[in-house]
């Protein structure tokens, strides 16, 4: 299919669709340059006469002793710890299931496979009840630990390891006298890299965007990730139309913009990886 023909009607239709998907983000970028008053009085989809993006960013970052920066740090920490941990566990597990046979391996794998269907939020309240019992609630662990177990990540890494790590390579390394752990760390992990990055990215997004779990687990605003923090600011912005709370609107909008940028950039830079990994997970089952 190397037809060099291009279709103008199709291109126009897709650009119209593209406009729909970019509209809210365009609005967000425009709104971040406005004062709360301008948000109400000027047209939403164009800039006002007095853009003040940097003043807004400064106000967002300094409000309440810089609590927003703290939320950014928390989110980054939760997301990176969860993503790296989940991907490592999934890579080791997927490699183990793909390349070794032992009694009960199928049963164990099927158990994990069945867990893919169990929704995370249906699990969140039970997890909260258990964590409340053992005193883990309102600590960073309450957010990180549940994110470490990714049944879908394990499934993806198993499918990926099957082909990406040829048995002959493992066999050759064994003949050379390499230990199993050495083979995994030195050889298999390198071959698994695209799948690994995919799991990292998708766990990163899931944790970065997670709202329900931190909402129920954390009470201390100093531990909030961005999502819960922004939601609490937005509650204040809506709550009252006067006094300090009416200025909150510009902070919510600018904070939203700041929270979106890192992930979008990460996705654009790493697209080569997640596309190949997704292909492996979605196609071969």
């Amino acid at each position: 299919m190397t037809a060099r023909r291009r279709s103008t009607p199709l291109t126009v239709a897709m650009l119209a669709a593209l406009a729909y998907f970019l509209l809210p983000l365009f609005w967000l970028a425009v709104a971040s340059t406005k004062s709360t008053q301008d948000l109400f009085t000027t047209f939403g989809l164009w800039f006002s006469d007095s853009p003040r993006l940097f003043a807004n960013i400064r106000a967002t970052l300094t409000y309440d002793d810089g609590v927003f920066g703290r939320w950014l740090l928390n989110t980054g920490m939760y997301a990176v710890a969860s993503a790296l941990g989940a991907a490592l566990l999934a890579a080791a597990g997927g490699y183990g299931f793909a390349k070794f046979r032992w009694r009960g391996d199928r049963a164990a794998f099927n158990l994990v496979l069945g867990a893919i269907m169990v929704p995370t939020t249906a699990l969140a309240i039970p997890t909260y009840l258990l964590f409340a019992k053992v005193g883990l609630v309102n600590t960073p662990w309450a957010v990180i630990l549940p994110s470490l177990v990714s049944p879908f990540g394990l499934y993806l890494m198993r499918v990926y390891a099957q082909d990406a790590v040829p048995d002959t390579v493992i066999e050759a390394a064994r003949i050379d006298g390499a230990g199993e752990l050495q083979i995994f760390v030195r050889i298999a992990m390198r071959l698994l890299a695209p799948g690994f990055v995919t799991v990292v990215l998708f766990t990163l997004v899931a944790t970065w965007n997670n709202y329900f779990l931190p909402l129920i687990m954390l009470n201390d605003p100093n531990l909030y990730p961005i999502t819960v923090g922004l939601a609490s600011w937005s509650a204040q912005a809506v709550g009252g139309g006067s006094g300090a709370s009416s200025d909150m609107l510009a902070l919510v909008v600018t904070g939203s913009l700041l929270s979106v940028v890192p992930l979008v950039v990460a996705f654009l830079l790493l697209q080569r990886y997640w596309r190949s990994g997704l292909a492996a997970g979605g196609v071969k089952q």
């Binding site: 037809a3 291109t11 983000l25 109400f40 939403g44 080791a92 269907m117 939020t121 996705f267 979605g282």
Partner: protein, 293 residues
């Protein structure tokens, strides 16, 4: 040699062990504990008492829970076909090679997936706004009544729009990745046999997309039945429309944290999880039966 073989036999379980240990502690553990809790009840007199399946009997007759489940089921039936159809059309368009700027279009449609659902809901909430939302501003300028996106009649559609906006690109990428794995000689053979682009899409591409479509469908079942973030955030803009039992998950949340009925919340979560698993399997089985027929 025997030592090497023994080492190889233990290596598999050892690689799997870290994941499995955490899986048991953090996945099966909470489920087991919630199952246990759901069998008890806090009574004013006599404290906590074992009540067997009473909580479940109450839950399946709880009108607010049933209404919440009914609402997310409606949401699923309307939103998911629209979303997957759009994702399919976009993926086929990208794969057709007929598009200019295909890279830009692909990335642009996918970008919302990287936006947290909290931010997506906040943005759309402002866009929907009856005072300063741009749609309301435009229609006022044109002398038309402002669209009431946040009213009772429109709310489910407005929520569906947010979720569609977030996930069309993600599903599109999965389907597109699957399309790219179809060997090009299949198309050439079909073209030699006189098949046009539509015929090729219908007879070659769609059957090849089957596993990927099933995957997106199951994820969509799971996603729509646990709908929480979007209604939770729009609740502040329209407290009269979205009550604490608007979706099943909002209800579970309010039982657990507002009224703090721990045991009943455990039963409700369990029941909700069971509903989702059953619906997912039903969807999978129906789809697979369609193939053999």
């Amino acid at each position: 040699m025997a030592a090497v073989r023994a080492r190889r036999r233990t290596a598999g379980p050892l690689f799997v062990a870290p994941f499995m240990v955490l899986f048991v502690l953090l996945f099966l553990g909470p489920l087991a504990y919630a199952a246990y809790l759901s069998l008890f009840q806090d009574r004013l007199v006599g404290g906590t008492a074992f009540v067997g399946l009473d909580n479940y009997v109450t839950a399946v007759q709880d009108p607010r829970l049933l209404r919440g489940i009914g609402r997310v089921a409606t949401f699923f039936v309307i939103q998911v076909p629209v979303m997957l159809l759009l994702a399919l059309l976009f993926a086929l368009a990208l794969d057709s090679g007929l598009l200019r700027l295909a890279r830009v279009v692909r990335l642009g449609i996918f970008v919302p997936y990287a936006v947290p659902s909290v931010v997506a809901s906040l943005m759309w909430g402002y866009l929907y706004g009856p005072d300063y939302g741009p749609f309301a501003q435009l229609s006022r300028k044109l002398g038309l009544p402002a669209p009431e996106f946040l009213s009772d009649g429109w709310m489910l559609g407005s929520l569906a729009n947010i979720v569609t906006w977030e996930f069309v690109g993600y599903n599109m990428i999965i389907l597109y990745a699957a399309l790219r794995t179809i060997p090009p000689d299949l198309y050439e053979a079909a073209a030699v046999d006189g098949a046009g682009p539509w015929r090729i899409a219908w007879s070659i591409k769609l059957p090849a997309l089957r596993p990927a479509l099933l995957l997106t469908l199951v994820f969509s079942v799971i996603g729509s039945f646990q709908l929480f973030n979007e209604p939770n955030l729009l609740q502040r803009l329209a407290p009269d429309v979205i009550d604490s039992g608007y979706t099943a998950n909002l209800y579970a949340y309010s039982v657990a944290f507002t009224s703090q009925q721990v045991n009943y919340a455990a039963a409700v979560s369990f029941l909700l999880g069971a509903v989702i698993v059953v619906v997912s399997y039903a969807v999978l089985l129906t789809a697979n039966r369609g193939r053999s027929a």
